[in-house]
């Protein structure tokens, strides 16, 4: 397997603001890596280093083995920026065809990609008359049309409706089957967990964690025990190992770090216990807990 993106010890500062503080990251061919983190974590900065827009102040960035600051290297790169503006007067078909030529392809390559992302009917519409989600799709088509080895997508799903998002994830899956590596940033954590092999959590310019989504979730000690029970909230709170109680719905939800012990007590205390289920945390909670802990450590 070949590495299509390699970032080693990357630092970048804007004046006094340290946006990236020694970041390591790699994306292999065919792999999808989701870059997560709160607003201002440094995701876009990292993306901009990887696409050659910003200089690396320290460290090393390689795209398909080359320096992305050099135009020829970017032949291997398809980019969707956090926001792209198009010249008002150019038509969708012209924009995508232009991107095809710039990427060294024939103009005709545009037609197929536009069909892939559902832009065929909009081919002759001017960019100035597109909706936000349609503009996102144009940007995606322009990123895909060069058949790049590495796709770098900064919040690609912003403004996409449910069906457009589904098309988007399918398109990515097809590209990955053909060997493209993907680095994407998103705030749709659960959706990214469903597609990404690896999740990198960035916080204040540092990587807090880089792992499989399920492995990240498994790091969270907390489990939720869900059940239908006759015990009242006060009794439940007094059970051993219970850290939170939610009796908001018909089913109660008990947060605990030792679900096995809790289950034994619960079954003994309430013979009518039913609809019993234990759930792990979700990736969103795992990411939140990582960044919250980091914030607490910083302020402590």
């Amino acid at each position: 397997m070949s590495t299509v993106l390699e970032v080693q010890g990357a630092r970048h500062r804007y004046g006094a603001t340290v946006a990236l503080d020694g970041v390591d990251l790699a994306v292999e061919a065919g792999e999808c890596v989701a870059l997560l983190g709160p607003n201002g974590a440094g995701k876009t900065t990292l993306v901009n280093l990887a696409v050659g827009l910003l200089p690396v102040h320290e460290g090393r960035v390689r795209v398909a083995g080359g320096d992305p600051r050099i135009a020829a290297t970017r032949r291997h790169l398809g980019v969707m920026q956090q926001s792209t503006g198009f010249p008002r007067t150019l038509k969708v078909g012209e924009l995508v065809a232009g991107a095809a030529v710039r990427a060294g392809m024939r103009r005709s390559a545009a037609g197929q990609v536009m069909a892939e992302v559902g832009l065929t009917d909009l081919a002759s519409r001017r960019a100035g008359k597109l909706s936000g989600g349609q503009r996102q799709r144009v940007a995606l088509a322009m990123a895909l049309v060069g058949d790049p080895a590495l796709l770098i997508l900064d919040e690609p799903t912003g403004g996409l409706d449910v069906s457009a998002r589904r098309v988007f994830w399918q398109t990515l899956a097809q590209r990955r089957e053909r060997g493209a590596g993907v680095l994407l940033t998103t705030h749709l954590i659960e959706e990214s967990a469903a597609v990404a092999e690896r999740v990198v959590v960035l916080h204040e310019g540092r990587v807090l964690a880089a792992d499989r989504p399920d492995a990240l979730v498994a790091r969270l000690p907390e489990r939720t025990v869900i059940a239908r029970t006759n015990l009242d909230a006060q009794r439940l709170r007094a059970l051993p190992g219970v850290v939170s109680v939610d009796t908001g719905s018909e089913l109660v939800r008990l947060g605990t770090r030792s679900p096995e012990a809790l289950l034994r007590v619960l079954l003994a205390e309430d013979p009518d216990l039913s609809d019993l289920r234990v759930e792990g945390a979700r990736l969103e909670e795992a990411v939140m807990s990582l960044t919250d802990t980091a914030t607490m450590e910083v302020t402590a």
Binding site: V51, G52, L53, L77, T84, T89, L90, V101, R102
Partner: protein
Amino acid sequence: MSARVFGVEVLDELRGIMREPTALFFSVVMPVGFFALFVSIFGQQSAGGVSGGTRMLATFGTFGVLSVTLMNPGIGVADDRERGWLRAKQVSAVPLGVTLAAKVAAALPYAVGVLLAMTVAAAATGSLDASLATLLRLGAVLMIGSLPFALLGMAIGFQAGANASAAILNAILMPSAIASGLWMPLEIMPDVIGRIAPFLPTYHLARLGLAQVNGGGVLEHVLVLLATTAVVAAIAAVSYRHARA
């Protein structure tokens, strides 16, 4: 591949200008209108064996070419940058120089249009006495000589917004035009202006143009314009790097 890319870039630029022509309208209509007015009044007065209309074609022509080549690429760069379109180009596999060269190339047909319209106006008032070869030479000299001004426009476009760039470039072009004798001959202007003029690159471009229609030395003007090009290219490069980092 590069030629194809350049072609696409030029075509996109031309499409933009053609589909939204208002900006260019002013940089074309204004100089041509002025020229038509002046040439109909002063075109017949000849000096040094050359008609006033022909000389004015060189001086007003310089202004006309500059009002397109100084303004359009620069404002275009500023607009692309504000829009985020320049960043899209910067992350493509095409060196940005190709995009910038396309912007200049796309402005040239309009500069040709300005010169043609002025030539027609001069001919219509019966004040044109230059051979076709002379006219072609004048056109070519003004186009090539406008390169440093296009670079200056883009140097500003990398830093300022589109509206600000337009204002700044106008604030450069208008006084330079007056002080270089592009509108009225320096001979009828106050002495002090005549002394300032040789320090202005616009003056040297106009002189180079004039030399095509009524002869005269060109070396000094060529050297000044070459030096200007080198300086402005360096400024544009720094300006770009500043905008990129």
